[in-house]
Amino acid sequence: MSTRKIFHVALKDVCLIFRDRSALILMLLAPFLLTIGMGAVTGRFSGSSTNSGIADIPLTIVNADAGQLGDALVEMFTSPDLEALLDSTISTDLSAARAAVDNDESAAVIYIPAGFTDSIIPSPQRSAPPELVQVEFYANPTRPTSSGIVRTILEQFLSQVEIGRISGEVTVTQLLANGYIDPAQAAAVGTSIGQQMVQSSGSTSSIKLINVTEGGGEVEFDTLAYIAPGMALMFLMYTVTYGGLLLIKENRQGTLARMLISPTTSAQVLGGKVIGIFLIAMAQLLILIGGTSLLFGLKWGDPLAVLVLVFAAAFAATGWGIIIAAVFKTPGQVGSVGSALMLIFGLLGGSFFDVSSLPGWVQIISKISPNAWGMEGFLNLAHGGSIVSVGTPVLALLIMGAVLFCAAAFWISRRGLARK
């Protein structure tokens, strides 16, 4: 089979799409502008010293606990380490704090109920098991990123507290069982371990927005490294849908039939169309990556790994473009389904917010989108990961693309490439 004809078909498609101004606007300009817009909203271009793009998250803490753990939690959220990231306010009025969230004046409220410390560190005088007291987190749904950050810090604190509590219990039990202490000393030892836990959980060293690379060096995370791939991957779906649309349009305008009545096989024509879409998708991602690197100094990570990931993402997305063109008949249907998929995959794939805040089953469903795997790979690289760190996403994307190509080929072989 002559590969020259395949490349002639592919290059013709690339040429056609790069002459379509409206397509270029949506392929390149729209993701670029949205990246700039979202970067501006998150403060990426404001020159913040943290370079995280997110700063001064308004937070209210209502501490009704008179114990050490409540104080430690407040101390952590108001510590100098988090001063640039959080704008914490201490309040005693829970209703007013919640109202501030409802009025979008605050990203979240952390309510530490009375007895929180006692529920974790029992006093030596008490013999009965402590009653369970839970810290309440009241989040602002219109600020998912900010409230997500606060929640992550809170969860980290509580997780350290829980680890300390369990290790304390185990320690005291073992000391008792081995006869190193008697029951009368147990409460004092437990309290001592609790004191150490308070000091440990109050430390904020582990929750700075600094990532450590595999080589041990530190990498500051750039918000744009989340936004830019999100937008690029979302609009990648537009591009592949447009490529699929070209196949339907060619069928309608008679150029597909004309190709098929030339001494060219259906496989050559289809192969050319697929490679054309793939090349356009690759070009789009590489142009966006190059543009954001040059204009905003965005570090995408190891260039070879980025290239491998771009290849895999473009391959999987092309599979989606071809299957849409194979299954649906009219340009209207392809356009509608493509737009819907672009948005759904954009949402599920994490182009707008971190999907780890969504329920588990949604996170599983999100894996059908090239966006989710692509985002995982790009974020790994932005956090300083090497080519090994994108192994799983790349493999998943290649499998996705292969499965979609097989399905599309089966579908097309059943009803023929040209349709009456």
Binding site: K12, G254, R258, L260, A418
Partner: protein
């Protein structure tokens, strides 16, 4: 010399609908053969099967000695196709279109570029070759559409209604180019629903209707079928009742058959001139105003009317 195209009992069905119902004919090398019929008669479906785009439901065709079902690649190399629609890329220039389509026929390098220059000259668009197709007039696009079909110098050229929707000047240019291509030795299968085009171009004509070949032969052979009858066409007003006029004219001596068409009544008669006076008198008695009268001597339109009872444009 064996025919360049032989069609044997070709059937093409789409589900339960039979678009072509077992047609057979052949085309000799060097002929212009017209397939004449109204829209939806099965002309384009026949061309699609002959050009290997769709497989026949049954039957077969041999082109340049190769079966369209068993040796489609050999058939494709022998034929050129000018489709009814403008199968061109509007965002590419004529030159780029020719480059692309030439490469689909295996042409490349200097052979391709010199052939493109020849075709551009042939269709008279050398000076516009670097303009995008979307800036062309309808006639210019039609010429490029034809040019693409000529790039690889096919032995047999299929032209599917190439003059649909263009101005008279471009139409004349296309008809002249078909004659010139034939003069240079190219065999042409030309489909049309314009009787005048088939009459002007064709050595032989096949008349197709509802997927069936209802007549085949030279123009003289076909018109002989209508037994040297004339057709008298009465043009009546939009508000007149053609059926009332038909009823009144049935028993006029010399009327062989009367058929209504759009605001017209067609009367088949051995002598149209002798029939004018009695027909006009009867119409006058009924109060039906006859705006004008045409006399048509036997032609392919009359043959179609004779065979189907309908006009070609119905």
């Amino acid at each position: 010399m064996p025919p360049i195209l032989e069609l044997h009992d070709l059937v093409k069905k789409y589900g339960d609908f039979a678009a072509v119902k077992g047609i057979s004919f052949d085309i000799k090398e060097g002929e212009i053969f017209s397939l004449l019929g109204p829209n939806g008669a099965g002309k384009t479906t026949t061309i699609s099967v002959l050009s290997t785009l769709f497989s026949p439901t049954s039957g077969d065709a041999t082109i340049c000695g190769h079966s369209v079902t068993r040796e489609p690649m050999e058939v494709k190399r022998c034929i050129g196709v000018v489709p009814q629609e403008l199968a061109l890329y509007e965002d590419l220039t004529a030159q780029e279109n020719f480059n692309f389509w030439g490469s689909m026929y295996g042409l490349s390098g200097k052979a391709l570029s010199s052939r493109i220059d020849e075709v551009l000259e042939q269709i008279g668009l050398t000076d516009k070759a670097r303009q995008r197709i979307k800036t062309y007039s309808g006639g210019m696009k039609r010429r490029v559409n034809i040019g693409v079909g000529l790039l690889h110098k096919p032995r047999l050229l299929f032209m599917d209604e190439p003059t649909v929707g263009i101005d008279p000047q471009s139409r004349r240019a296309i008809l002249d180019s078909v004659k010139e291509l034939n003069r240079q030795g190219m065999t042409v299968l030309y489909t049309t629903h314009y009787m005048e085009e088939a009459q002007e171009l064709s050595h032989r004509v096949g008349i197709i209707d509802h997927g069936e070949l209802i007549a085949l032969g030279t123009q003289a052979e076909l018109t002989r079928q209508v037994q040297e009858t004339d057709t008298l066409i009465l043009h009546i007003g939009e508000n007149e009742d053609p059926q009332a006029l038909i009823d009144a004219l049935k028993d006029v001596p010399g009327v062989l058959r009367i058929t209504p068409t759009n605001h017209e009544v067609a009367i088949v008669t051995p002598s149209a001139e002798e029939l004018i006076a009695p027909v006009v008198t009867r119409a006058d008695r009924l109060g039906i105003k006859v705006h004008s009268i045409d006399i048509r001597e036997p032609n392919l339109e009359a043959v179609f009317l004779h065979l189907t009872g309908r006009a070609l444009r119905d």
